[in-house]
């Protein structure tokens, strides 16, 4: 395990000719991050196929997160979440845009997965994940619950109200903004605000991610 604090220099070490006497752990980390960024972006320069570019760019966003991680405080952990979500949001838009551009939206109308295990297992797994996600609340809870719902929808020919679920996500977003305003203007009610924010983010993430599970090119949504 590395136990040196980030700002102090490592003890003098000599590798061959080079002496790393005054190199801190942060500098080593940032050097590696820069090398990773250079390698990752050189892949975009070389790649020609559109969908491969998209996948590569989704991967290289990790290098941005690496630089955030190097702050190495609680703040860094908190900043990773916006960074990650922006990446997810953008890949969602760009992939739908790619489908529209290549006129593939109509062609691949995927039916439900017609295998035996997808008729019996999804309700059980989906329910378990959804209950656990609601127990956790917050962002990770929303993701887990959404995963459960996505698995559930994968095994069904769904005809649920697309617009209704989308509206629910909108109200959840408003709930979260309300929680933020309570935090800012009535700080004594911080407990109410935490609960509103936790429930709001759970609903929002769950509704949106489960809608992704239903966007499979069927006509009845």
């Amino acid at each position: 395990m590395i136990e040196y604090p980030l700002e102090t220099a490592l003890p003098s070490q000599t590798f061959g000719f080079v002496s790393f006497s005054q190199v801190s752990l942060y500098q080593i980390g940032i050097t590696i991050a820069f090398v990773a960024i250079a390698i990752a972006f050189s892949a975009i320069v070389r790649e020609k196929d559109d969908i491969h570019k998209m996948l590569l760019i989704d991967l290289i966003e990790i290098t941005g997160l690496v630089v955030i991680v190097l702050i190495a405080t609680d703040l860094a952990e908190a900043l990773i979440l916006p960074g990650l979500v922006v990446g997810i949001a953008e890949i969602m838009v760009i992939s739908e845009l790619w489908l529209a551009k290549e006129e593939l939206q109509q062609k691949h109308s995927v039916r439900k997965l017609d295998i035996e295990v997808m008729q019996t297992a999804p309700p059980i797994i989906g329910l378990m994940l959804a209950v656990y996600g609601i127990f956790l609340t917050g962002f990770s809870g929303g993701l887990i619950a959404a995963l459960g719902l996505m698995i559930f929808f994968l095994g069904k020919n769904m005809d649920e109200r697309f617009a209704a679920v989308e509206n629910a996500a909108g109200y959840a977003w408003a709930l979260w903004v309300l929680a933020f305003l309570i935090f800012m203007f009535i700080p004594s009610q911080w407990f109410l605000a935490v609960m509103l924010a936790a429930v709001g983010i759970l609903l929002k993430v769950m509704a949106k991610m489960s809608l992704v599970g239903t966007m499979r090119g069927l006509n009845n949504v």
Partner: protein
């Protein structure tokens, strides 16, 4: 065809934009590698994460405090803008309070419960970041579903 014509022809094709942009970032990363000796870590950071921690059940995220009674000590940027600073960090839900008192490993899952240092930063002191992030997600979903539904019409 002279040089400038070739360059402008290459730039005129929008599918070349990502390549040019990626090349520019590669260049800046190379400059970054050259300037690494000037990048020194600032020791006095906000929201510090202590390197050595006691062995409480909340270990990686234990910042002290008692729920509802005593707020945790948080090094925020502008503490005067956040009067209830530290209460969210100290808060534990009844379920996580039970787990903290019976097991030693609540710290591994605390980010999944309301309360804790990350919720303090994400919801309270830097709440606006999270609002913007949620709005980005919201708008991204609006665009994707608009494109999706238009294809169905």
């Amino acid at each position: 065809m002279n040089c400038i014509q070739k360059i402008s022809l290459y730039l005129a094709d929008t599918s070349n934009l990502p390549k040019i942009y990626a090349a520019v970032i590669c260049l800046i990363a190379a400059i970054g590698i050259c300037t690494v000796p000037f990048l020194t870590y600032h020791g006095d950071q906000l929201y510090p994460k202590p390197a050595e921690q006691n062995m409480s059940p909340l270990t990686p995220y234990d910042r002290g405090g008692v729920p509802f009674i005593e707020p945790a000590h948080i090094a925020a940027q502008y503490p005067e803008n956040s009067p209830a600073l530290g209460y969210v960090t100290a808060y534990l839900t009844p379920a996580s309070w039970f787990l903290a008192n019976t097991t030693c490993y609540l710290g591994t899952t605390i980010v999944g419960h309301p309360g804790g240092i990350l919720d303090e930063i994400l919801y309270y002191t830097r709440g606006l970041d999270t609002i913007v992030e949620a709005s980005i997600f919201f708008v991204a979903f609006a665009i994707a579903s608009f494109l999706y539904r238009r294809a169905k019409q």
